[in-house]
């Protein structure tokens, strides 16, 4: 797929219960993973112009200040491992790029943002 100009916020927005792809997604899109048992959002995956994942937002509290709504940016597109570990602290919700924590209409985060 040929990517057009980057939108101001990730678009289009998809959702489902499957794990987010690391590569091969629709360029500039965002995907919300829903918990299959609760229907709540557990994670957003954000994609670049090539359809490679460049970030995640997690909607549960991961401890150590990583409250629900925190994010991770991936220096190597398509490789979530590149944005985790000692050199890659999480991104507080307030500092996320625009639109990264957007959820589909009617979908609640697994844990309230900030908790």
């Amino acid at each position: 797929m040929v990517a057009g100009p980057a939108p101001a916020v990730p678009n289009p927005h998809y959702s489902g219960t499957g794990k987010p792809w690391t590569t091969g997604a629709v360029p500039h899109s965002i995907y919300t993973r829903l918990d299959p048992n609760t229907g709540e959002a557990v994670q957003n995956a954000i994609y670049d112009a090539n359809g490679d994942v460049i970030g995640h937002v997690d909607f549960t509290n991961h401890g150590r200040g990583a409250t629900s709504g925190h994010g991770h940016a991936f220096p190597v597109p398509g490789n979530p491992s590149s944005g985790h570990g000692v050199a890659h602290p999480h991104i507080p919700n307030a500092a996320l790029p625009a639109g990264w924590d957007t959820l589909p209409a009617g979908v609640s985060p697994r844990t309230q943002i900030g908790l």
């Binding site: 792809w21 609760t38 709540e40 557990v42 549960t60 401890g63 990583a66 979530p80 570990g85």
Partner: protein, 143 residues
Amino acid sequence: MNRSQVGHAGAFLAQFHNCYDGLVRGVRFRYTAAEVHSRAVVVLSVRQSTTLEVNDGWVNVRLAIEHVEEYALKESAKVSCRVLSGGLQINAFRDLLFFDFDPYSDEPTGVEDFRRSGFYIAGRSFSWRVGEYSEQHARNKPA
């Protein structure tokens, strides 16, 4: 299931913040002619609650699961289980401890939800050893 193993699992999860945002560094299964069941060793990078002053708490953990009776590990060009975004879930069903490194649900309803995971190992007992943080592969043994 030995009650001490279940308590052991709770202590492990508490020590490492449920392994949220951890990384899988290596997975190894050992099969020997003398044993019916295999042994699994998973090396993880996780944050430890008791060592915050060093590497912001990041350590490597060598998790050894004994008497493995079932497991699954699915990886593809588009789906990876190397980041523990959903943390690690451990639950006992009958005589087996299920370790789920890629939880199907944050609220699993039973053993079948563990079997829907992209990466789980079920065994009868386990132990762990903490070592220095490293981004190298599993052969870089923790102390």
